[in-house]
């Protein structure tokens, strides 16, 4: 960790969105991460995405676990509620929060340690429940905050700063999400804002669990030669399959495309995701194909990115729980208490 004072992230201009808010209204406190940390770029992309989506900041709930990555919710959306929980348990808090008020936007920020080691169970079960949230893993292959130990996402053969070689195979959150029935599975790179911002928007607007695994280099502990999560390595091995554009409900689809080249997907709120194939042989609607494609390219050392799988129809936690449309936290007490007469009825049944 460095303690060099950095200028507060600032975004040019007086540009305002449809709510009349400026980009500044989506900013947070000053980052205390190392200069150049990939996580800060993701924060910047998040700010831009929320601004462009015209989401009122108070309608957003930010959640995180523990780690450098998990600190970042303090660095965006100052006017949103947030909860910085304990290590690996963010999904549980998100589940309860989402159950209490289904009308808010939920974004969870986690790290590869937070989600793939201590929190692997909760991460898997949140996917299974199809919790309606955007779940970002800021993936750097190490535990940044505890000073550079290998994490479970470190590739076999990847070299630590100390020279140690990682001997174990990685846990890939993308493959895991695909095999657990994840309905929105994407991977990106903190260094590619063009790809990242639309993916964040699509993930936020998707109804259900949206996993966004973002390779986010740790400049202090894992950005050297021999690391497979460095800026250089990621740029060299980046393999985009599908490019995603996001179009708001109120906007028209203006991108011109040839029949079959771009697949538009309509979201529940009327907005659209446009999927443009970059790799001609990739099929984002076929789970089995996605898994084998990713594995095949991984074997060649390539990092497959893009919106890798999308199913807009899978019901979320509220669908499977059959909860009422109104947020539970808005139900008045008289809608919850059965009253004295019911207790009389219960008394009769218990004697």
């Amino acid at each position: 960790m460095s303690y060099i004072t950095k200028p507060r992230l600032s975004y040019s201009g007086r540009k305002r969105n449809k709510l009349g808010l400026a980009m500044r209204d989506y900013e947070g406190g000053m980052s205390t991460l190392c200069a150049g940390c990939g996580h800060d770029s993701i924060t910047a992309a998040l700010i831009q995405a929320f601004f462009e989506l015209n989401i009122p900041p108070e309608r957003v709930v930010k959640l995180s676990g523990i780690g450098c990555s998990s600190k970042t919710p303090a660095y965006f959306l100052n006017a949103s509620h947030g909860i910085n929980a304990v290590h690996g348990r963010m999904p549980a808090l998100a589940t309860g929060a989402n159950a209490a008020n289904r009308d808010l936007y939920y974004i969870g920020v986690s790290g590869d340690g937070d989600s793939l080691s201590i929190g692997l169970g909760q991460f898997g079960h949140a996917i299974r429940r199809n919790l309606n949230m955007l779940y970002i893993i800021e993936n750097n292959g190490v535990y940044g905050l505890t000073k550079g130990q290998f994490s479970a996402s470190a590739d076999k053969g990847s070299k630590a700063k100390t020279g140690e070689i990682n001997a174990q195979p990685p846990i890939d959150p993308v493959l895991m999400a695909l095999s657990l029935g994840g309905a929105f599975v994407a991977r990106s790179f903190s260094g590619d804002k063009q790809q990242l911002v639309p993916l964040i928007k699509a993930g936020l607007m998707h109804q259900g669990f949206a996993l966004l695994d973002v390779i986010s280099p740790c400049v202090t502990f894992n950005d050297h030669d021999g690391s497979t999560k460095s800026y250089v390595y990621t740029r060299e091995h980046f393999h985009e399959t599908i490019h995603t554009d996001f179009v708001l409900a109120a906007d028209e689809i203006t991108v011109e495309y040839d029949e079959g080249e771009v697949v538009p997907v309509d979201l529940h709120d009327g907005s659209h995701i446009l999927l443009r194939k970059v790799a001609p042989d990739y099929e984002p609607k076929d789970r089995g194909n996605a898994i084998s494609y990713i594995q095949h390219h991984q074997e060649k050392g390539e990092i497959v990115t893009g919106l890798l799988y999308l199913d807009e129809q899978a019901g979320d936690l509220h669908t499977t729980s059959n909860t009422i449309d109104q947020p539970l936290n808005e139900l008045s007490y008289d809608k919850l208490c059965p009253g004295a007469d019911a207790l009389e009825e219960i008394f009769e049944a218990y004697r």
Partner: protein
């Protein structure tokens, strides 16, 4: 061995020894329910194995005209239906008592007690002659012993028939076969034994306003009435039935009539770490939320409980205590989690605890727990146990005041936030250690970032030592506020008493009964909340010696008292019980008498 069974009316214990999974539970319930309907106070305790089918299980029915709920420790009538435990069951009958057994098969070799009366009934043979299927025969054997007991105890057959009819409703065939089996047992007993026995029942009018309910069901009802709309849990005996009951009541009373959708959400979590996390997330977001677990779950939940203490997130948790850890006695009762609950988590952490002593209190204290959790913005753990949670108690009818409104604590509304210049989440405006909170989604001014230890009174991140200390001191002050809000102890004084006794939870029924038997006058204080009310210290100070009765080996309640209060530790004498079964009045009495015989401290022995 307990006392000789006596000539008695409405004062006896019937113990039913059966095999797990053979359907005896419904026969036993039928018997207890009928006794209750006849106006006689009655309780039923399960002693069951950690098993689904095949292992021995016992159900102990205590009929008590005086309304005593404790396990008495004696057995007047043993119904020995399990060949496997026959010898053990025979030995447990109190001298002068009765042993009812299935005489279909010869058992001469083991019938070796001449201080009890043997009542052999060929239950299997009778049922095999009348009923067809193997399963039906097994079930009907149970009904037949109910019939025999009815004759022996002088229970009105009409009353039994009524309960059977209610139970099976429109299933005429089932009613007929069950009644037939009951009749078989009844008639055999009348023809072959001197009915009724000297130990028997007689209708009373003491139970018209009593209901038979277990603590978990009552606690679940409390959650419904408190307005809890979210629950997360991971299955564990003996707390599972609490969530089952909550789901059942919600299904019945919380379904939106127009849409058929639920005004509640229950998540079966992947483990207790997740269960408490979910409850915290929901509660933080403005819904009354809870979880229920037992000791192993408390261990797993500890980190997040500490987080909730520091971040000041309300949540309600039920700990239905059992014997732990791991396998062995998970289906037995204990008060072994007192310290674990009081100080769950790392750092300077402490939690508000409530101690119900029976299902009635499970109901009312469940409601209270939500009010306290939200008023104090902290976890509140309702510490129950298997004896209270899973056994059948007779309790006064639960009443509900329609004017009850939940105390949601200090929450800022949109309007209040609008008028506020700046909102500071952890600023103690009122000086009682409790700050104002806001819900997400309400107003941009209400936003804050909830964290564990690293926040100052403005809600900003800090690692500053002075700010951290200030936070801790305020939490301490809040703790003192809590001491005045938890339910007060119940103190019963006797004229001339110089000694006192302290207990909590399910030990109460044994202590209460013991005090009635005790010659020496003794004051009694039952603790119902932690932090301790000021009266707790006063009670100890004002007695020469104080017995502390609890159901664990390490005297955890006594430890809590000496840790938290400025009392003379030498005054406190432990009476401990920790074999996994509920404590008996005699055990408490023996403990007191033992000490009574001891020479005074300092005197020459």
């Amino acid at each position: 061995m307990s006392k000789t069974a006596k000539n008695s009316i409405n004062d006896c214990v019937i113990k039913l020894a059966t095999v797990n999974g053979t359907g005896s539970a419904s026969a036993n319930a039928l018997l207890t329910k009928t006794i209750l309907r006849l106006g006689i106070p009655v309780t039923g305790k399960n002693f069951f194995p950690s098993n689904i089918q095949g292992l021995p299980t016992w159900y102990e029915i205590r009929i008590s005209k005086d309304g005593y709920d404790a396990r008495s420790g004696q057995v007047d009538i043993m119904v020995a239906m399990n060949a496997q435990t026959y010898a053990q069951d025979r030995d447990e009958v109190s001298p002068g008592g009765y042993l009812l057994y299935d005489s279909t098969w010869p058992r001469d070799n083991v019938l070796s007690r001449n201080d009890i009366t043997l009542l052999g009934i060929p239950l299997a043979r009778m049922c095999n002659e009348v009923f067809a299927g193997a399963r039906e025969c097994v079930l009907m054997k149970n009904m037949a012993y109910v019939g025999a007991l009815a004759a022996l105890l002088d229970i009105d057959m009409k009353a039994i028939e009524e309960v059977v009819q209610e139970r099976f409703g429109k299933k005429e065939e089932l009613i007929a076969s069950n009644l037939r089996a009951i009749r078989l047992g009844h008639d055999f007993a009348v023809e072959n034994f001197q009915c009724p026995l000297p130990v028997r029942t007689r209708p009373m009018d003491k139970a018209a306003d009593l209901m038979m309910i277990d603590g978990n069901t009552a606690a679940a009802l409390g959650c419904v009435y408190a307005g809890a709309a979210f629950a997360a849990w991971y299955p564990i005996t003996p707390s599972t039935s609490l969530m089952d009951a909550f789901a059942k009541f919600c299904g019945k009373y919380r379904t939106d009539p127009d849409t058929g959708k639920n005004r509640f959400c229950i998540v079966q979590a992947e483990d207790e770490l997740a269960a408490i996390g979910m409850a915290l997330g929901a509660s933080w977001n403005g819904v009354r939320a809870f979880s229920a677990t037992s000791g192993p779950g408390i261990s797993l939940m500890s980190e997040l409980l500490g987080f909730a203490y520091y971040a000041e997130v309300p949540v309600v948790l039920f700990d239905v205590q059992r014997v732990g850890p791991s396998t062995g006695l998970p289906t037995r009762t204990q008060q072994g989690d007192l310290l674990a609950c009081a100080y769950a988590s790392h750092g300077d952490t402490r939690h508000v605890l409530l101690f119900p002593a029976n299902p009635t209190e499970c109901f009312y204290l469940a409601v209270k727990a939500f009010d306290l959790a939200e008023r104090l913005q902290t976890p509140v753990i309702v510490v129950s146990d298997l004896d209270i949670g899973m056994n059948d108690w007779t309790c006064p009818k639960l009443a509900w005041h329609e004017d009850y409104r939940p105390d949601r604590g200090k929450i800022l509304s949109v309007e209040e936030l609008e008028d506020l210049e700046t909102f500071y989440r952890y600023h103690d405006k009122d000086g009682d250690g409790i700050c104002y909170r806001t819900y997400p989604g309400v107003h941009p001014k209400g936003a804050y970032f909830a964290r564990g230890s690293g926040h100052n009174e403005y809600g900003a991140y800090t690692e500053d030592p002075a700010e951290y200390q200030k936070l801790l001191d305020r939490l301490r002050q809040k703790w003192e506020t809590a001491a005045g809000l938890v339910p007060e102890p119940i103190i019963k004084r006797k004229r001339g008493a110089t000694s006192g006794v302290i207990a909590l939870g399910s030990s109460d029924c044994a202590v209460t009964e013991m005090l009635d038997k005790l010659d020496e006058p003794m004051d009694y204080m039952r603790i119902r909340g932690f932090p301790f009310d000021a009266r707790v210290e006063k009670f100890i100070d004002s007695h020469e010696r104080v017995f502390v009765v609890e159901q664990n080996r390490d005297a955890q309640l006594k430890s809590l008292l000496t840790l938290e209060l400025n009392v003379n530790k030498r005054k406190l004498i432990s009476i401990l019980h920790y074999d996994g079964f509920p404590i008996t009045p005699d055990h408490v009495l023996d403990g007191i008498n033992e000490v009574g015989d001891m020479p005074e401290e300092g005197s020459a022995a």
